[in-house]
Amino acid sequence: MNTQIVADRELAAASLATMWKIRRFEEAVEDLYGRGLMHGTMHLSIGQEAVPTGACLALNKDDYITSTHRGHGHCIAKGADMERMMAELLAKETGYCRGRGGSMHIADTETGNLGANGIVAGGIPIATGAALSAKMRGTKQVAVSFHGDGAMGEGAWHEGVVLAAMWQLPVVFLCENNLYGMSMSSEKAFNLDQLSDRAKGYGIPGVTVDGNDVQAVYDATKEAVDRARAGGGPTFIEAKTYRWRGHSKSDKNLYRTRDEIDEWRGKDPIPHFEALALAAGGLTQADIDAVRDNVRTELRSAVQRANAAPDATADDLLSAVYAR
């Protein structure tokens, strides 16, 4: 029996803070973009915060993750600093990639984050390679490859899972099924009742959980991670959730209904978690208010400091191609 997160004051506060950080960070990004202060594009995971929060709770600092184009939540949950992330998105020298990567490419090897990735399923074999490195070095590290439902149609997904299964590598393939690959619904795209039904074909365990429930995601990830550390090989997890915002800034939401979006907004993972924590006695209303207020203050200060940092320069645009 795993720890009941909502009943544990410290874990409950930390989990709630992580979800609020992701939510507030992305709301700030959306606002800055809308006001023309941020450039490029970005993909928001608002509504999906419980998945990275629950999954990373089961990981150690030196475990690895690979992330996706919708990766702010994974970075934050794995321990990335919001100021450096915001600086990256604002194209500042103080960003994680000195402003050269932007929203889709944050990599923070200090926290085991091997990179968000603009190529769908691009991180699958990379996480498998990191898992191979752990096995070769005889460490107990585990790699978690976050990906969306859309990745499961890609060839790289197949190849990465085949290799991981063959060598029984310590990797968890965590599918954040937000029900749409841009406009393609996963129900249409995959002739499966549950995406985890596919795991059997690869000879690995698979499970489907409620992706809006931190505890459910944590439990499934913990089981998979424990198995991987013990040499039991890879696991596939489908965490069902929902993306409130469009795929990216260009999305006009023509493929789904307002009713559907509203229905899922009613399953908002944050108030759901708060209610459970109150009921279980892990957090008081005062605790909950404090978490929310602290995150807001922290985020405001992160945005201000990031914005004050020097802009990324084009001085080494040509010379930075190769390692020096």
Binding site: G115, T128, S133, G155, R324
Partner: protein
């Protein structure tokens, strides 16, 4: 010094790299138990173990993607792609991840991985087993693209590639795998980025690389009988190209012929002709000439001799550059 075939010289380079640095690991299809289709990795799994010379299933995107993950964690993976045409399933990983990770992370992440690719025709195989896909990769910033033509270069350049902190596409001229030459495993110097003047000459600069260096040398000998002095340059590095060495030669000869097996359009020859025209415009006595494979898919084994540039076609190119009567058309250029 030991006399080795080019394939054995590559194998001895891999062996030294595995001995010198325990972060070097080899990944590929059939490279372990079998020792590779061309036996380049023969004996390495026996001597270094299955954890360092890793037999993979058929999964090029998986192999290269895993190498990225290993490189992230401080390894120096060396991937073998069995044949040139098999690299395309891994293309996405190479151009979208391998090439760009260093740049997009502001230099925080290095990708010290080497991808070995037997390439080119002339062994009676067909498309997918005889192609020259180097230009795709030379077009991609962030990759180093190199190729060797002698056993010594094969050995030294491969070790240099593995030691490099940049990703290197290492193209091996498969029809020259059995070429023999003296190899000094203790040779110092870093040949990878520097073009080699193979033979000096004064009338025409003949630029080539990989499998056609030997053919170009034959052309130089044949032309000498006609009193024409050809300077043959082996590029070694296709990205970045050592334009200084080529420019110095063209400023001396005033005439430039480029030859490669890959198709003409959008090929390395186009890039070299354009850059040299830019750099040496007032030195050139004639337009640069390209002698290449034709703009067709790689043909069937029986027809490949028509596709590949040979001695006659290269000499015709030299004639054109010199404004001599062209033996193919009978017309002066």
């Amino acid at each position: 010094m030991t006399e080795l075939t080019l394939a054995k010289a590559l194998g001895s380079g891999l062996r030294r790299a595995l001995s010198d640095d325990d972060k070097v690991v080899l990944l590929g299809e059939d490279i372990g138990t079998l020792g590779g289709v061309f036996r380049v990795t023969d004996g390495l799994q026996r001597d270094f173990g299955k954890d360092r010379v890793i037999d993979t299933p058929l999964a090029e995107a998986g192999i290269i993607g895993m190498a990225v993950g290993l490189a992230f964690r401080g390894y120096r993976p060396v991937c073998e792609i069995q044949f040139d045409g098999f690299i395309y399933p891994g293309f996405d990983q190479i151009v979208a991840q391998v090439a760009k990770l260093h740049y997009r992370t502001g230099g925080n992440v290095r990708m010290p991985l080497t991808i070995r690719v037997p390439y080119g025709g002339g062994i009676g195989a067909v498309e997918h087993h005889s192609e020259s896909p180097e230009a795709y990769f030379a077009h991609t910033a962030g990759l180093r693209v190199v190729t060797c033509s002698t056993p010594q270069d094969a050995h030294s350049m491969l070790r240099e590639a593995i030691a490099s902190d940049d990703p290197v596409l290492f193209f091996e001229p498969k029809r020259r795998y059995w070429t023999k030459g003296e190899v000094d495993e203790d040779a110092t110097g870093l040949p990878m980025g520097k073009a080699r003047v193979v033979t000096e000459g004064t009338d025409v600069t003949l630029v080539t690389y990989g499998p056609l260096v030997a053919t170009a040398l034959d052309a130089a000998v044949a032309a000498a009988d006609d009193g024409i002095s050809i300077e043959v340059i082996d590029l070694r590095s296709l990205s970045p190209v050592d334009f200084d060495t080529v420019s110095a030669s063209v400023q001396k000869t005033g005439r430039l012929v480029i030859t490669h097996e890959a198709s003409e359009s959008g090929g390395l020859g186009a890039e070299i002709a354009a850059t040299l025209t830019d750099r040496c415009f007032y030195y050139l006595e004639a337009a640069p000439v390209r002698i290449t494979g034709f703009d067709v898919p790689y043909p069937a084994a029986k027809l490949e001799d028509h596709f590949l540039p040979d001695l006659d076609r290269i000499l015709d190119g030299v004639d054109r550059a010199l404004g001599r009567v062209n033996s193919l058309t009978g017309w002066s250029a």
